[in-house]
């Protein structure tokens, strides 16, 4: 057996194939294993994706069929009426503006601050650099607890305010570590030559560090954006008394818990014909909930292909500590 293997190896040892195992004959056990393994992963993948598909087909199918529970696997009687009806839900639009606003503003500031901080902490000549860096990093390992945090935010006047979504997110120590690690891998010669040419710190940061660290900045931007989009807790706790500041997830949470009111709400504040149309299309709580859920998921799904390019790199870099 061993002799055979070695022979077959020496025969074509110049041909370096990627999967050398392939050269060996497949045993029936291998085939069974491959089938079972494949079947398991296929099943798990379906479990992961089916709920999204189920939501989608129920939002684009005829509402009457949905109500009768006829839509399980295949959409029937395609219609976009559910999505068009969302225009009447005022609260939803307010929360969409709030969420989009915090995602765009919060993420941009977070990325800029992380980049700047990540760059500054690589500068050995900074006064008290070690202390200040530790002062930042150590905040990842303790936390004051929910109530003191809430009391602090209210003391700083950051309750019932849009700024409560933005300002606390400026400094993200973990992202600062990621950026710092990345910047340290950029050849120091680039910076030195710019320095000799008379560039100051801000010029070096904007003209050299910022463009060169785009991959890591894209990674933290994506994670930051997803985090902002999915944020729910700060809206729930800090802005509980300002419905106009509820984030989309908070709004969805309320809709999910008070579904029955939703259908009636669709009827109010709408002109008579529209209300009649709404009645005709038999809008029910279930489909509205599904539709709003879809609206909340869709941006994530659209961003997902772009995210995929970056998140693996981000994870690996997270493993390298600063």
């Amino acid at each position: 057996m061993m002799g055979k293997l070695i022979k077959s190896n020496t025969k074509d040892n110049l041909k370096v194939s990627k999967n050398q195992e392939r050269r060996f004959k497949k045993k029936p056990g291998d085939i069974v294993f491959a089938l079972l393994n494949g079947a398991f992963f296929l099943a798990f993948t379906i479990i992961c994706v089916f709920p999204f598909y189920y939501l989608l087909i129920n939002t684009i199918s005829d509402n009457d069929l949905v109500k009768r529970g006829m839509i399980n696997f295949i959409p029937k009687g395609l219609t976009l009426s559910n999505y068009l009806a969302l225009g009447n839900v005022k609260d939803l639009w307010t929360s969409i503006y709030v969420t989009v606003g915090r995602t765009v503003i919060g993420t941009s500031f977070m990325v800029f601050v992380s980049a700047l901080a990540g760059y500054l902490v690589t500068k050995k000549e900074m006064w008290n650099r070690k202390f200040l860096y530790r002062f930042l990093v150590i905040t990842m390992y303790f936390n004051s607890g929910l109530i003191p945090w809430y009391m602090n935010m209210s003391m700083l006047g950051l309750t019932d305010s849009f700024l409560a979504y933005i300002i606390p997110g400026f400094v993200a120590p973990f992202n600062i570590i990621l950026v710092k690690t990345y910047i340290e891998s950029i050849p120091a010669e680039l910076e030195e030559s710019a320095f000799i040419d008379g560039a100051g710190y801000s010029t070096i940061f904007l003209k050299i560090i910022w463009p060169l660290s785009k991959p890591i900045l894209a990674t933290i931007a994506i994670f930051g954006a997803v985090g902002n989009w999915n944020s729910f807790q700060d809206s729930l706790i800090l802005n509980a008394n300002s419905p106009s500041l509820y984030t989309l997830q908070h709004r969805l949470y309320i809709y999910l818990n008070s579904g029955s009111n939703l259908a009636s709400m669709m009827g109010t504040g709408v002109s008579a014909t529209q209300a009649a149309n709404a009645m005709q299309s038999a809008l029910n709580t279930k489909t509205i909930q599904y539709t709003i859920s879809m609206v909340t998921i869709i941006p994530i799904l659209c961003l997902y292909p772009f995210m995929q390019r970056y998140y693996e790199g981000g994870i690996m870099m997270g493993a390298v500590k600063g």
Partner: protein
């Protein structure tokens, strides 16, 4: 000649050293005045009972509406004259500007002589402005204390004015001294600051933000020692010492709650740890799939749930498991009988269900780190093992798994440190009247207790205990890691 010049450049003259010293003092003053500006206890604008005692001078000087919020009637009735309130507002604003100027001086005095010269002028102006504002505040007090209705207006002499008088006077004197003794910088000298201070000043705002949102909340721990209700003030009258700490153990209802909540927390974290091998197994078996496209397909689609929020997971749970969800409609359509069971509204196996939702959401994502680790294993190891006659499972067990163990170990230690922090979002969205008793974890309990019931001191105590235990666990886990692997995880 050049040698002599070098020496004179390095050794500072006595006057320069004194200037340096005065600059340091002014820097300290700048920091102190910022702290005073933001502390409600030292608010010189609080000279009537209408101005709440949790308002700082900063608020009074920035927002006229905040200043006059509760005194509308007093102003209309003429108990307090508009002019005195305007003087208070103007004084507040003046002090804010003065503080900004003194901060500017604190920054500039880190630079060279030219910058120091300019900064000293700012400090002098700042001192004068503070003195002016103090005089204004005293005038406003004189007007307010002459009110017709002292019972309503309740004039209080603002002792904090003295602080500003002293602060302003001392700042003015020091700045003037500095201007007199400091060597004059020639006009040809450029503005310059040593790189180390420049970098420090650039970094300072970031540090201040971290202080405001991560360190300052620790001040909130003081609520644990007071009988505090929302809207009240902390004072010696409602100081209760360790009452809440003992209540936690003495009061039977609270104790039972804590035991129940801890049981849920530990059970869910424990189940999470027991299944922490799954992502690794997932990665190992996934890498056994030969077809690249299929592997990529699985990896991509199983990661999606990680990126949606728990609220959306709950929306999905409703769509699948609620009364008119997928399971029920499917069974009604294809099986005998009509089903309308709300699977989310019962209390059975809540721990397992929560675990399964957690796995559904994160399994594919958690596997990624192992998948990357597998791809970095030396291929030659596998080839050698095949040559030696190792089977598929032997390769998995003796090559792949051991090379993933270090990663697994770090993640496991981190989960030990986080054993009490399961987060609250998942449990909040899934909780309802039926399952509350077995779903409430510590984080959710603190939320329900503090935000829901307004029991701020008690929930602070619970949160404090949690933080202490978590930090201890973190250091223990780190110690283990150091001892066993010679590497720290913190």
């Amino acid at each position: 000649m050049s040698g002599v010049r070098q020496v004179t450049a390095e050794v500072k003259s006595t006057r320069e050293r004194y200037t340096e010293f005065l600059c340091r003092i002014l820097q300290v003053f700048a920091v102190v005045s910022v702290v005073i500006l933001f502390s409600p206890g030292l608010n010189p604008a609080r000279m009537t009972g209408y101005i709440r005692d949790n308002v700082s001078l900063f608020t009074c000087g920035v927002s006229y509406t905040a200043l006059t919020r509760s005194m509308g009637r007093a102003l209309n009735q003429g108990w307090i004259s508009y002019s005195s309130i305007r003087i208070i507002f103007a004084a507040g604003m003046t002090i804010i500007i003065a503080t900004i100027l003194s901060l500017a001086n604190a920054c500039m005095s880190l630079g060279n002589l030219r910058l120091k010269n300019k900064g000293a002028i700012l400090a002098m102006i700042s001192g004068i402005m503070q003195l002016f504002a103090s005089v204004g505040l005293l005038m406003a007090y004189a007007s307010i204390s002459n009110t017709d209705r002292p019972d309503k207006v309740n004039p209080i002499f603002p002792n904090a004015v003295y602080v500003y008088i002293v602060l302003g006077a001392v700042m003015f004197l020091i700045a003037v001294t500095q201007i007199i003794i400091q060597p004059k910088a020639p006009n040809t000298m450029n503005y310059y600051m040593a790189p180390k201070y420049k970098l420090f000043l650039m970094f300072l705002p970031i540090v201040i933000l971290a202080f405001l949102f991560s360190y300052l909340p620790l001040l909130g721990w003081r609520y644990a020692f007071f009988d505090y209700k929302a809207g009240e003030q902390l004072s010696i009258n409602n100081f209760v010492g360790l009452k809440w700490f003992t209540l936690l153990f003495k009061n039977e209802a609270t104790r039972n709650d804590i035991v129940r909540v801890l049981k849920n927390t530990l059970a869910m974290s424990g189940l999470g740890m027991l299944t922490s091998m799954l992502p690794m197994a997932f990665a190992i078996f996934l890498s056994e799939i030969r077809n690249n496209k299929f592997r990529r397909f699985v990896q991509t689609l199983t990661t999606i749930p990680n990126f949606i929020s728990w609220v959306l997971v709950y929306a999905i749970a409703l769509a699948i498991f609620s009364t008119d969800g997928f399971i029920n409609t499917f069974r009604s359509q294809f099986g005998p009988g009509v089903y309308s069971i709300n699977y989310l509204m019962n209390n059975s196996q809540m721990w397992i269900k929560m675990l399964l939702w957690g796995l559904w959401k994160t399994l594919g994502w958690s596997a990624i780190i192992y998948i990357s680790a597998i791809s970095s294993i030396d291929r030659q190891l596998f080839e050698a093992s095949i040559v030696d006659g190792a089977g598929r499972f032997q390769r998995m067990w003796y090559i792949t798994a051991p090379s993933l163990l270090p990663t697994y170990f770090v993640l496991l230690l981190m989960s030990i440190a986080n054993i009490l922090s399961n987060g609250m979002e998942q449990y909040l969205v899934f909780s309802n009247a039926m399952n509350k008793s077995s779903i409430e974890v510590l984080d959710l309990y603190v939320y329900n207790l503090g935000i829901g019931n307004g029991a701020i001191p008690l929930s602070t105590v619970v949160g404090m205990m949690k933080t202490f235990i978590s930090v201890i666990l973190l250091f223990t886990a780190n110690g283990f890691s150091k001892r066993i692997r010679g590497e720290s995880i913190v």
